[in-house]
Symmetry: C2
Subunit: 356 residues, 2 copies
């Protein structure tokens, strides 16, 4: 995307949910055009983008048309099929690239990466069948969590094993899919680092946020977190190592557990991240603009934070509270334009200024 | 627009320039849909809106289709033809209403309003022909400025009269259009109040900004301004009086001159205003969202400012500086996606955090 500053280059976004929508809006602030690829005709991002290719992920002709209508392609979710990415990558740069995507799609590869980089992570072992599950349980002990290697999201595709006797049932619950057994981690808090890496390899991190979950879904993120200066530095350095090792281009969310003995990297998301929404109120350049800058080959923003912020997700019926939130001083509300509210569905979020 | 919080009501915007574009993006943040009416097929707002009716202002069928596709209609520029507004208003609410629009379209009516409210303004007199120009010059003296009553913008449609001998030439330069003669005002600075009035009559003002112009075009706005607390209060109260008198619904920019003897109201713009762009970085609810809230009948945001900001317009070749601005800490850049840069054309703006 050379000299795109006046002419409005076009960016393709795979996935048209709220993350794609906020990416499209950030691109628009920079004078860029976006086109969305999403099989869902009601994709919320389509309403703020210049185009929407509504086709299945295996429609090669549609993927080809889409690629040819843009200059660079990115994605808003890590479960975009690798075959689609490969077809697109033959025609246009796809950023972040295949390595980051393939690693994030496989919990085992992810954990192996953390271990290879010398980063703390929960004890883990691969599980392919009953025999390897037995071996894994002997190595890790109980309680433990059995997770599918692929396609997990917000607590789905997981089963707890409280004692060895639960093992068979847990493996069956996952339908026999290739899995990973992870040891239970006793942590005090979860933090995440929203990090960005530019095309030239520079890495910029935002201040880590502290996350609160309810029923497996992110509820709140607070910045600054309660991390000590030492841990804060460790978290940021871990993120920098991961993005660099993956030759990542764009924003990545890196989740870490804070334990009494140190940080453990939990997982990565090779995309803009719910726990980075606070940057919309706290930073001159938010995570969405940062991602667009990175994939467009533009200089990254500094990641500087000028305000303390608490982000609250509006989930399901939380949208009923919108009228009162609109009247709150220091509250910035974002609604995703989804027609229907359902339990557990992310409908919007609020960023609130925190007293300093 | 009842209970639009999840379902995405539709807002029609007359005019698809950068102001319409930023209004559309603010509406999208609130989960709302926008449709643009603009005769220009390359209207920058169309790329971020759900629809674009591209038709002349006198195309009644197109206006009708447009009105029927939305729930409420607003505009981004004050020179939208009143006939079009009247045709639309028969079908859907148009906010701000006709009174505010008609007043802002006529410099004489505007000045008469200020005088009626007891607000200071430059000396003025109506000019319809050579005789009334002579009378006006005798009343006001020279130097003075002759301005057309209608369709003035960024210094166009104006002629200076340095001595009575210039009068004929100045009147001819304006093509004999109905005009207003204004006395020269010696002012130290120009400030503007970005004010909003809700459907129920509540008024919320942002902190006044101090404006610097170059060649008749706004160059910078700084907040806070150098106004004394007393003058700041006067400015905000003047804005409140004006919005209330006009039964205005939405955002209005009120420009005032600061003189050694007090404030003089210069002019109003019944819409979001270039000198209010700083709110995008300094406030949780910016002027664009505030306008959308007002016309949708939602509660207004508080107008609270949490950061000191300087806004700089990027005009014409200024876009060449974009790469270096992207690397500045604390700078938030907005580019309007205009294909061509021309001298004097507003291509974007930068909001910069000021050291507190």
């Amino acid at each position: 995307m050379s000299a795109p500053f006046t002419s409005g280059g076009a960016i393709g976004i795979l996935g048209g949910g709220q993350l794609g929508r906020m990416l499209a809006m950030a691109a628009a602030r920079l004078g860029l055009i976006t086109r969305i690829y999403d099989p869902d005709p009601a994709a919320p991002a389509a309403l703020v983008a210049a185009g929407h290719v509504c086709a299945p992920w295996d429609d090669e002709a549609a993927l080809g048309r889409f690629a040819e209508s843009v200059e660079v392609i990115t994605y808003e979710f890590e479960n975009v099929p690798l075959a689609a990415v490969d077809a697109l990558a033959a025609l246009r740069p796809v950023r972040p690239g295949r390595t980051a995507l393939a690693t994030a799609q496989d919990r085992l590869e992810e954990k192996r990466l953390f271990a290879r980089l010398g980063l703390g992570t929960a004890p883990f072992a691969p599980v392919e069948d009953a025999a390897s599950l037995d071996a894994a349980l002997r190595q890790i002990g109980t309680p433990a969590i059995l997770k599918t290697r692929r396609m997990g999201y917000d607590g789905k595709g997981q089963a707890r094993i409280m004692s060895a006797g639960d093992a068979g049932k847990a493996f069956a619950a996952l339908g026999g899919a290739p899995a990973i057994l992870e040891g239970f981690v006793t942590f005090t808090t979860e933090v995440s680092v929203i990090a960005a890496r530019g095309l030239e390899g520079a890495v910029v991190c935002y201040d880590p946020g502290e996350n609160l979950h309810e029923a497996g879904i992110l509820r709140r993120t607070m910045v600054p977190s309660g991390l000590s200066p030492v841990r804060r530095t460790e978290a940021v350095l871990a993120a920098g190592q991961i993005l660099t090792a993956l030759d990542h281009v764009g924003v990545m969310g890196v989740e870490l557990f804070v334990t009494p003995t140190g940080l453990l990297v939990n997982e990565i998301a090779p995309r803009v991240h719910n726990s980075g929404h606070w940057t919309q109120l706290g930073c001159a350049v938010d995570q969405f603009e940062q991602h667009i800058r990175a994939i467009a080959g533009w200089p990254l923003g500094p990641g500087t934070r000028h305000a303390d912020v608490e982000m609250e997700n509006l989930i399901g019926d939380d949208v009923g509270r919108v009228p009162e939130i609109l009247a709150e001083p220091g509250a910035m509300i974002h609604l995703y334009g989804k027609a229907e509210s359902r339990p557990g569905r992310k409908m919007g979020h609020v960023n609130r200024l925190r007293a300093g």
